[in-house]
């Protein structure tokens, strides 16, 4: 591999050594220095709405059971029996008060505590030989949620999730907080693509430039009310802390008119007005920008778009969440969820879901053309020629790094961070800038974790979805 320091310097100049999209040594570093200490999205609290509900999710190779216990608490436990290391739960979802290891029959409550192990007295001499009281499955090193979005961090000493997300929460709210009731999240659809995980994250972060070319066909078949692909350059891109995204410029109107324009019914708009801050509303109502795709470092992305779902002029907005979970340097498992405000009318939920299926996910018409490109890119990045090529990711910068366009002023764009109108690749550079910052610093020795004892089960998640407020 070329010297890491040279690779990172090139990336920071916006010249991307092509091999980083298919390089085993780079991926080994990413695994340790990015996925070993970043907050990774694993699911939403509404996916385990009832006592005993669980889902099993991975952070790369590490499998975690995310379960709601009989008191309504949610925990994340490493899915490996303390005895011989078998997965204690081999289903990916369900409802259970406890999990029994199929190998030797050790069983665990859904709060992590050992419930029983066969022949405890005869084989171990009881508590004197093996203290099972209060012993639990290994907890996720760090677990937190925001608007019900559950994240795991493999670094026990990571900064708190709220601090990590920082000002990007302003934008996260558009996708995940449209009423006090919070999101209802369905799925995920899961499929594997022969593409490096970074490509999708970069694309969703800021690639407005690809829309008119890659997605021509979707516009041609009349899925949108107007030929939107050409309008992408009128939108703004923004970046704030660990995330950023793209927007569309809306026709003139006030907040309500513009929300109606993208298909929100009045009762949803009324609930949204109760939870979005004045600045969050001004971004739409005064500045005229509507959020679209976005990414949060390292591998979470968002979609908000508003296609037609039947003949006529009506459009319907949908929200989708996703992660780009790396399998290795050239393969990614995509997890794609549909999300909708849980207080929305049932008819809206149905149509929004239909809009999602038509546009994104395993069968989505946008998605289909995107992945074709990314697979091709990844294949081509494997060879020796790719090690000699630096891809130009400097759109929006002159040779002396002067910006081509101008940044929007605070009264032109009421969100935090930096925003600008028109085609540029500053978001992709920002994402890869964080990537470089992480790869540059070695991890301190991985914190070892003794099997702990917790009389009330392992530490539960501080929930943020407010499921109780559902109507």
């Amino acid at each position: 591999m070329p010297e890491l320091v040279d690779v990172l310097a090139a990336v920071r100049r916006g010249m991307i050594p092509a091999h980083i999209y298919n390089d085993a040594e780079i991926f080994a570093l990413e695994r340790e220095r990015i996925f070993g200490r970043s907050w990774i999205f694993v699911g939403h609290e509404s996916e385990v709405p009832y006592e005993g509900d669980y889902v099993v999710r991975r952070v790369l190779d590490d499998s975690f059971i995310i379960a709601r216990d009989s008191k309504g608490e949610i925990r994340a436990m490493f899915n490996m029996c303390l005895h011989r290391g078998m997965q204690v739960c081999r289903a990916e979802m369900g409802n259970a008060s406890n999990f029994r290891c199929p190998y030797h029959g050790w069983s665990y409550r859904n709060d992590g505590r050992i419930l029983g192990l066969p022949f405890h007295h005869e084989a171990y001499g009881g508590e004197q030989g093996f203290k099972k009281r209060g012993q639990t499955l290994l907890p996720a090193p760090n677990l937190a949620s925001y608007n019900g979005l559950i994240f795991i961090n493999l670094d026990a000493n990571a900064q708190p999730l709220e601090d990590y997300l920082g000002d990007f929460r302003f934008y996260l709210d558009y996708y995940s907080r449209q009423s006090t009731a919070g999101l209802e999240v369905r799925g995920p659809q899961r499929w594997r693509i022969n593409a490096n995980w970074k490509i999708g994250a970069e694309n969703f972060a800021g690639d407005m430039y690809h829309t008119p070319q890659t997605h021509t066909s979707v516009v041609e078949i009349g899925l949108f009310r107007e030929p939107k692909a050409e309008k992408r350059k009128d939108g703004a891109t923004y970046w704030s802390g660990v995330g950023g995204g793209t927007t569309y410029k809306l026709p003139p109107g006030d907040f309500r008119e513009r929300m109606r324009y993208v298909g929100y019914p009045d009762d949803m708009i009324a609930r949204i007005e109760q939870v979005w801050t004045p600045d969050q509303q001004k971004l739409v109502g005064s500045d005229g920008f509507m959020i679209s795709a976005a990414s949060c470092f390292p591998n979470m992305s968002f979609v908000h778009n508003w296609p037609k779902v039947q003949d006529g002029d009506d459009v319907l907005p949908f929200i989708s969440l996703r992660t780009w979970q790396p399998i290795n340097e050239h393969e990614t498992e995509v997890y794609s969820w549909f999300a909708v405000d849980s207080a929305a009318p049932e008819e809206f939920k149905k149509n929004s879901y239909k809009a999602y299926l038509m546009c994104f996910g395993s069968t989505g018409m946008f998605e289909q053309d995107d992945v074709e490109n990314w697979v091709s890119l990844t294949n081509t990045a494997a060879g020796s020629m790719a090690r000699r090529l630096q891809l130009n990711s400097r759109m929006g910068l002159l040779e002396d790094d002067t910006p081509v366009g101008k940044c929007l002023l605070p009264n032109e764009f009421h969100g935090p961070g930096v925003a600008q109108v028109g085609y540029n690749e500053s978001n992709q550079r920002a994402l890869l800038g964080l990537w470089a910052d992480h790869l540059e610093h070695a991890v301190e020795k991985a914190s070892t974790m003794a099997v702990g004892t917790y009389t009330d089960g392992i530490e539960p998640l501080v929930q943020t979805a407010n499921l109780g407020a559902r109507v």
Binding site: R68, A96, R192, S217, K350, S362, D369, E372
Partner: protein, 201 residues
């Protein structure tokens, strides 16, 4: 706890009844045992599926769309791994396809533009249809036909070909000709090993 956002239900006799967008779907169900393989109704249903498979291989999607009734429901649930006895093995409230004639017509129209890059160059496709069996319904002009399907899809020259294995249950209805009024596709993987489903099953 709190009120559910969705119903948790197992696989019923017609999956359309559980699908989010299956309200419009015909509800006809099978009656009795498998029809004998020399029954004329089985022969016509089998031939229908084989003829259809050739249209799908050739990506003759305009002709294929004509084989679907106006009220068609074309649904492919997301399969999930659940413990034995759980009562369901599909993701509640989520599918890969949950389509009516309009959404299928948009998908077909897209392939007919000159800019559907994912299939330009086109995949080499082979829909293998086997284990076909046919059932009567309580209407003479409706048949249920089940089949196993293996799709082989090869693209380019670098990556290995991808396959999708699934079981299908179709409701065929005789209108001016026999057509598909309902298709349920049970894919055999929870994580699809194909870059997209820019194909039909």
């Amino acid at each position: 706890m709190t009120s559910p956002g969705f119903q948790r239900v197992g696989r019923g006799d017609t999956y359309s009844e559980q699908a989010v967008l299956g309200d419009h779907a015909p509800r006809d169900r099978r009656v009795g045992k498998t029809l004998p393989f020399n029954d004329d109704r089985h022969l016509l249903a089998h031939q229908f599926l084989v003829d259809e498979a050739y249209l799908l291989d050739a990506q003759s999607y305009g002709e294929w769309l004509d084989l679907l009734t106006e009220d068609v429901h074309y649904v492919m649930p997301v399969r999930v791994t659940t413990a034995l006895g759980t009562g369901y093995d599909t993701s509640p409230g989520m599918a890969h396809f949950d389509e009516n004639k309009y959404s299928l017509s948009r998908r077909v129209a897209r392939f007919q533009t000159e800019h559907a890059w994912t299939e330009d160059p086109p995949s080499r496709l082979r829909h293998h249809i086997t284990n076909v069996r046919t059932f009567a319904t309580d209407k003479d002009d409706h048949l249920i036909v089940e089949s196993a399907e293996l799709l082989f899809r090869s693209r380019g020259d670098v990556n290995e070909a991808a396959t999708v294995s699934c079981g299908r249950e179709d409701l065929l209805r005789r209108e001016d000709r026999w057509k598909i009024a309902r298709r349920t596709i049970f894919i055999d993987e929870s994580v699809i090993r194909m870059q997209n489903l820019a194909i039909f099953l």
